[in-house]
Symmetry: C2
Subunit: 323 residues, 2 copies
């Protein structure tokens, strides 16, 4: 497995420049006060399609187009954000997209795919169905997280963070299949190459959807024994990948798990204090802080990577109404 390099990240950033939202790095006075640290937010819920996923999908497609190999169409499997991201990117490039999604996918994510002209096949056999359809139609399967160009695209999130705040003490990154933390940790290490590895990168995944922790423990990206399921639907990847596991092993300091109650309890407080509509997957970093699972030193600069905002409308109504 080759790790994503600073050059890969620079090429990805150049491809995406002007096509996506340059998300800011926002200081949260409220969360800073609450935790006695400087809390910065990277709000990828404000990205086109409502999540960081479009960075990876668009970079992977543009990389193939640059290489003269724009496919006839593209296919992927996803809880929804990668599906919407692929649909958006495919529409930009003028090719069709078909996405396999689980039958219980969040409605906001289903609607996002349709909005961008994607075709959805609902199935529990996500990977097999995706590969079969792609073979039938001559489409390219883009892995939603374990493709090197997808990882490089997600890594542009980290490139921007390090440009806006050159020396954060800690990054808390949601982990599903691991594409985001792979790219972001590669960007952090590339930005700090030659210097001391000052910035800690900590991944957070749901205790009930811990494919990466399982892969780290076993040393291989085999699926965990129980099928992942979480209120953080975007993190319920059935397995990590060889590429993402290698990046996490090389670059990430620790991967923690948080329980469902902690995620649920942190959801509305995050929305209310930051004024950002996020989905539960984006909340795991704050949940880890609230639970005391990470204890940054007083005054440390802590970046919460808010991965997406495609929240269930009924979920938001429930947590907002639960006062």
């Amino acid at each position: 497995v080759d790790l994503v390099t600073g050059d890969d990240l620079a090429r990805a950033a150049a491809r995406l420049s002007g096509r996506l939202v340059r998300t800011p790095l926002l200081e949260s006075a409220r969360l800073s006060d609450e935790f006695g640290v400087r809390v910065l937010l990277k709000p990828e819920n404000l990205q086109h399609t409502g999540s960081f996923k479009v960075r990876g999908m668009l970079n992977a497609m543009l990389a193939r187009a640059d290489g003269g190999a724009l496919p006839a169409g593209v296919a992927t499997f996803s809880a929804g954000n990668a599906a919407a991201a692929m649909s958006y990117a495919a529409r930009l490039l003028g090719i069709p997209a078909v996405v396999c999604m689980p039958p219980g996918a969040v409605e906001a994510k289903v609607q996002a795919v349709y909005r961008y002209g994607g075709e959805i096949v609902f199935t529990d056999a996500l990977v097999a169905t995706c590969e079969q359809i792609a073979a039938e139609r001559g489409f390219l399967v883009l892995h939603p997280f374990d493709d090197p160009e997808v990882i490089a695209g997600q890594g542009t999130t980290g490139v921007e963070i390090m440009r806006d705040c050159p020396e954060p003490d800690l990054l808390l990154v949601p982990v599903g299949g691991g594409g985001l933390i792979s790219g972001v940790s590669a960007a952090v290490r590339a930005a700090q190459a030659g210097g001391a590895a000052k910035t800690k990168v900590i991944g957070v995944e749901p205790a009930t959807a811990d494919a990466m922790s399982h892969a780290l423990a076993t040393g291989s990206p085999t699926p965990p024994p129980t099928r992942p399921s979480s209120i953080a639907d975007g993190l319920a990847a059935p397995f990590a990948g060889p590429n993402t596991l290698a990046h996490v092993q090389a670059h990430v300091d620790e991967v923690l798990t948080v329980d469902e109650e902690a995620i649920r309890d942190a959801w509305w407080p995050l929305v209310e204090s930051t004024k950002l509509l996020v989905e539960p997957s984006a909340v795991v970093g704050l949940a880890a802080l609230r639970a005391g699972l990470v204890k940054p030193a007083a005054g440390a600069t802590v970046v919460l990577l808010l991965s997406g905002g495609n929240a269930s409308r009924t979920g938001i109504a429930e947590v907002a109404g639960a006062a």
Copy 2:
């Protein structure tokens, strides 16, 4: 009445630099698609205290401190956002703040004042009570919108917009007492001084809280005959002021009104499509677009100024749950 100048705005921007959030200008692909124009969002819900109001309050206090006249304490009257903003700014400067608010103020705004150490007096006689308390304690009354330094501070929102997008075709700005649109329109005209006045600035206020429309119609900032009241609680100013009326007369192209149903109907769509938690006051520009009250040319660049995010929790639960 002296209008705020480019120099006033530059001084305000210098005072506030590094103390507040430099909010971005975000492109909304979804709203752009929906209206066939380029929609840019200025998300002041992401500002410290959850609204633009802190710009004006902090600038007004710093201007007095720069002049060697930091008061013993400050007082204002407000539906809530100016109250929270004053409390935050006063805490930064180490002086006490007392704010008069209506008994029915939104709970999120009440909590924001307490969070920043402000003292609240609930009263329907907002102005008289505020002046009496300030006189008793020797505090300075800062008008929540009709103070020239407050207007200059709010205008830094416009300075930033024009820096990030030098030639927008249209700005849609929520109007309560008129402090925001006064400062922002002054910034637009200052940025375009000497050139053609290309950018239209249109104010939007609730039909049931139309103090500025009434002032424009009568040529004086007298209170409208019926007491203002709106779901957009932040815009229910009982009157415009001589300073804000003069700025609107000089710089603003038009002030429109939108009805309550249009505001309510646009609230969740704005939150859901932009992933920004905003309060109803911030929604009036989108409501005007949806109602066809403004019809920008195809491809025009339209800036929606999202004034704040201190939404009622039950209100959000209701509109999110109304699917």
